[in-house]
């Protein structure tokens, strides 16, 4: 048994025990962005146990996760569990947005959007072009400092994006290939070496909307509308709206806000890179 960790997914802390050396090496690479050197002594540390790939199974504190016993569901089950616990364990501490995010130095770009709307694809495209990776799923923002709390999970690439991101297909040994047959799990390091973001603060908010039949188009958005859209793309706003509304207002107050109709990945990335370039060059 190979023991991996500890890891931190926002406030969720866990270790992973793996019974297969090849799988352990692969999971270790995927989770490298979540490695944490310390454990809060007062906090709990879940133990996730993985078997596979011949007899796949994921268990959390010895309780088997339903549906994890087929190869193509093993890694999605792992990262689905980590995502859910990252959100639930943090929801009373941070503003949590359903968003991808990238950064250029201290400047973070938030990409809030519902599921299946191309967050991961756009995030990956931007990281490939030189921006740093914050997350492709959940942005945690500290209500007091407004700093983005990194959540550098592996990028979860659905089949609909495999053509656009073909170079990111996981290069794994033959026995592990079935684990990626329904969704690619891609380490940020595989997208670009050294791409995991350092500390950052939101400076741009871009709401992507994938419309493959339309030309890519960037539209200004009022900050008031951005507050509403951010709330609607939040995991925890409605649990504590009165406290989080001023936080949303403070976030957008320091940001330029846009809608981005995404016709294709390349032009969408160019639009955002141009915004970042402008933003980075303008002194705060």
């Amino acid at each position: 048994m190979v023991v991996l960790g500890p890891f931190a997914a926002l406030a969720y802390r866990f270790g992973v025990d793996v019974d297969d050396d090849g799988l352990a090496r692969h999971v270790s690479e995927l989770l490298a962005g979540l490695a944490t050197p310390w454990i809060d002594q007062a906090g709990e540390l879940d133990t996730l146990t993985m078997r596979g790939p011949d007899d796949p199974r994921l268990a959390v504190n010895q309780e088997t996760v339903a549906g994890s016993d087929v190869p193509e569901r093993l890694l999605p089950a792992l990262f689905g569990h980590v995502n859910r616990r990252a959100v639930t364990s943090t929801s009373n501490r941070l503003l949590l947005l359903h968003a991808g995010a990238v950064s250029a130095g201290p400047t973070a770009v938030l990409l809030p959007a519902p599921a299946e709307s191309g967050k991961t694809t756009l995030t990956a495209g931007l990281v490939r072009r030189g921006l740093d990776y914050v997350t492709d799923e959940a942005v945690g923002i500290d209500p007091r400092s407004l700093a983005v709390v990194p959540y550098s999970k592996p990028l979860s690439v659905d089949p609909g994006s495999w053509d656009a991101l073909a170079d990111l297909e996981p290069q794994v040994e033959e026995s592990l290939r079935p684990l990626h047959s329904s969704q690619w799990q891609v380490s940020p390091e595989s997208v670009r070496h050294g791409s995991v973001s350092g500390p950052s603060h939101p400076s741009l908010v871009v709401f992507p909307l994938y419309q493959p039949s339309s030309p890519t188009r960037l539209e200004d958005m009022s900050r008031a509308d951005a507050v509403v859209q951010l709330a609607q793309n939040s995991f925890n706003f409605h649990d504590n709206g009165r406290a989080l509304l001023p936080v949303l207002a403070a976030v957008v107050a320091q940001c330029q806000c846009y809608r981005l109709v995404v016709g294709d990945l390349s032009s969408a990335c160019e639009e955002i890179l141009a915004l970042v370039d402008t933003r980075v060059r303008v002194p705060a």
């Binding site: 900050r223 507050v227 939040s234 709206g241 509304l245 949303l248």
Partner: protein, 128 residues
């Protein structure tokens, strides 16, 4: 929430934000959060100015007179626009109303310059 929803608005009514309504002003626009309905609303700049006056410190008539004075607009037009907005806010249960003079508390000055056009409320659907 408001007992005055179906009555005619009068100049001595005192209207204030509903108990369960949180608001922030962002770039001159009020964003209102109705905690019970879990719905957000955005007011346009004129609506925002009116909203900021609904702090329970003045009667509707006093607010209308102040706005007419500040913006140099006919009181009749201001009254029509303000009461239209108040009725919309009442319908959305975002304000509470009471009849009679307000208690003497410090009122906030009107600081924003209103844009042209009638007050309007943009309703956003709740997050599913």
């Amino acid at each position: 929430m408001t007992g005055s929803r179906r009555r005619t608005l009068r100049g001595d009514d005192v209207i204030s934000a509903g108990d369960g309504v949180e608001s922030v002003i962002v770039d001159g626009q009020a964003v209102l959060y109705d905690e019970a309905a879990k719905v957000l609303h955005v007011l346009d700049p004129i609506g925002t100015v009116v909203w900021q006056c609904l702090d329970g410190s003045g009667t509707l008539g006093e607010i209308e007179a102040d706005l007419a004075d500040v913006y140099q607009m006919p009181i009749k037009q201001v009254r029509t626009d303000v009461r239209r907005l108040i009725r919309q806010l009442e319908k959305l249960e975002l304000v509470d109303g009471a009849r009679g003079r307000a208690h003497p508390v410090a009122s906030r000055p009107v600081e924003h310059v209103a844009a042209e056009g009638s007050p309007r409320v943009l309703e956003e659907p709740p997050n599913p």
